[in-house]
Symmetry: C2
Subunit: 481 residues, 2 copies
Amino acid sequence: MTIPMHPPTKPSADPMKSLFEPDSIAVIGASATEGKSGYIVLKNLIDKGYRGRVYPINPNAVDILGYRAYPTILDVPDRVDLGFLLVPGQFVKETLIQCGRKGVKTAVIVSAGFAEVGEEGMKAQRELEDVIKKWGIRCIGPNTVGLINVERNLFGSFVSFSDWQDGPVAIGAQSGIFAGALAIELMEIKTQQFGICKSLSFGNMIDLDETDFLEYVWQDPACRIIAFYLERIKRPRAFLSLANKVRREKPIIVLKSGRTEYGAKASLSHTGSMALNDSLVDTAFRQYGIVRTDTLQEFLGVLKAFVFQPLPRGNRIGVITFTGASGVMASDEMFPLGLALADLKEPTVKRIKEIVPAWQPVRNPVDLWPAIGVGENRKVYEEPIHAILEDENVDVLLCILIGVPNSDVGDIGDIFARAMKAHPQKPIFLIIIGGRMKKRWIDELEGLNLPIYSDTSLALKAIRAMHWYLTIRGLDIPDPG
Amino acid sequence: MTIPMHPPTKPSADPMKSLFEPDSIAVIGASATEGKSGYIVLKNLIDKGYRGRVYPINPNAVDILGYRAYPTILDVPDRVDLGFLLVPGQFVKETLIQCGRKGVKTAVIVSAGFAEVGEEGMKAQRELEDVIKKWGIRCIGPNTVGLINVERNLFGSFVSFSDWQDGPVAIGAQSGIFAGALAIELMEIKTQQFGICKSLSFGNMIDLDETDFLEYVWQDPACRIIAFYLERIKRPRAFLSLANKVRREKPIIVLKSGRTEYGAKASLSHTGSMALNDSLVDTAFRQYGIVRTDTLQEFLGVLKAFVFQPLPRGNRIGVITFTGASGVMASDEMFPLGLALADLKEPTVKRIKEIVPAWQPVRNPVDLWPAIGVGENRKVYEEPIHAILEDENVDVLLCILIGVPNSDVGDIGDIFARAMKAHPQKPIFLIIIGGRMKKRWIDELEGLNLPIYSDTSLALKAIRAMHWYLTIRGLDIPDPG
């Protein structure tokens, strides 16, 4: 029996490249049983058309999903770039050693039951660290869901995806949901969703970490916006120092949890993470231009804004509403965020005055309800939208629409498409309140890259995040010492 | 020509009754033109089956929608309880005088263009005040959208509704949206919506106000939960004093806006409201047991919780997740709200240990993902849900589900229906992350009165609001002096 042997090698110069762009993958723990992780990973690779070679590893199978299976990775006749480990926790060490002997450059350790489960697991995890160091394997995990690289059709996740929308966002997460359930939500419930080009689930990070990912996607032309879900930062100094460079070219948006006593405790049993002092994190993020978000909804809402709209040049918001109360609430929510109600210029006010009833004073927020049903509805929308977008005192247009039969206006998508075309540099944000007509309008607006929010305060937080990033993007800030 | 004349009368002893339960209504400014407010109000009354008599008033029509029209209200041969004024602003005064002469008890003044438009409008509004005093007419508005009383099939709103769900919530709002677009959203997008028995739009409140409404719905057996959208409080002392009684029987949930400098300015031009000092409002609400919410989403989310679930007896939350990150985020969000992660009892932990892999420690939040696909999925859900609901250390169960193919479990509605039946006193809150399966699950859970939130922080805010109300409901608090 001839087993190809490789001596321990030096760490690969570009480990993230061999993680995201491998020419061959061994799925160790591949399974022929539908529903098992070892089945889904293999099926994802095959069904999505991964362009490299795939080797199922399973000592009890000859063939899985039409691919020849091998008892161990050492039996694979060709070179293997990436090992995908799905074996039970107690077999991970041995399997990693086999990967080392085979000369595998990079390993994805999906198997769980390490630092996140306490002292015993921590010990086992340290043994893995010794193995990868000895054999020069770079690895992600343990306790990871995997990774996705759309460019290579590489869907290395044990969650199956029926759809996937490519796009400018790269997400690195200390959680599986961004390569799992949440990604499914983004992709399957298509309305108003943004695309993702790369997703990496970090797991317990015994080797490759958030800073490696940041470095990789910074250089990645497919990625325009970088997103992170983090419970800890493994190498804070390196991360911040790199972020300080990256922010000049690409925004970094982070959802950092484990920020309270409770969250930190929960994080310890999730990914074995020790908490950082949260106010230090906050200060550091502000210092180095990292956009911080506090909840999942805010994270997704801010990302959508960065994907869909240009950065606002200032903080002055022009508000169009079709209900006075919405204008009052939006004004309230703007104030503590440091956003300003734009002071509309005289010609703008004059143009809008021609649309609304004579008795109605025009000021920002502009309530157009009194004009509805009086003249031609389409004009009631178009004139004020264009007037406000043309106003030099306005940096962002926020429209709170009311989707009720009275306020129907034909194809609302057409109205906003024209507005965006005429004023490509001014971001527009939408809120729609209503029933069936709201649904119809959302359909009509689909594909315009016009972000619609269910919540004014979320839209305003997204605007604030974009404006803050613009103000800090170009600043010279000394690196962390 | 004999015009029935009534001398000026004393204010009706029970004006809210004649507003919500009139035996006859005159729609003054009724129109035969589809889409006009005067058309929609009349059509709503007829189509929804209002049980009283209806008189369209229009000097240029003989017949509108099959109902005989009269030139003025004075020409109506019968008694008229309620006058619904839709005439242009400049005709309101004269029309009100006619109502007075006719002996109309109550008027709904939809017409706008009064205090909300500045000095001129304020003057006109004061004239209306004189008229109603002189003629003893009680009124709501001007600048109101109208009112809804499901019991009487009285849909007095100029927004048309195709559906309406009756329910335990009465909403009084200084805005039209709760008898308009937002109500449409609640009613047409049926998933997980709560029903509304009464809705009143206050408008500029020259007469009847929030305190009158509170008094009326307090006594109303159809109403179990009282909700307000307010930009100001017209009679703060009376309102608080009454709220101090009402809270012992029914929760009062308020969305108060106009709380910042911006919001207050916008409110002035919306309903002519002068702002109250917001920190005083906050203190007073806390003092007298009024649940305050800050955004529209929070308002609706808190209302849904009160409608659907029993009050939690304490602040200790048991969390089930299928993703570690969600548990960490939920823990983080719980902490500043004063909610506690329940300390699971030993028997609970033991029961759950039998479900999860041996290596996994069990603590709150309980992550069930590692158990998925190992044994029977249904057991993975049911055992921990029942164990936690039975735990005396747990006051509320929060479940964060992951709707992906791996985690499918057949009819999830059945699982939760059983859990709710076995533990009717413990509130359950749900979050679902996922794509098509999430949609299917939401359908399966429909009708269970199990609140599903898109956002963990919103669910937690609702739990906090309910728990806070429980703690303050029975306290003896001295009335405002």
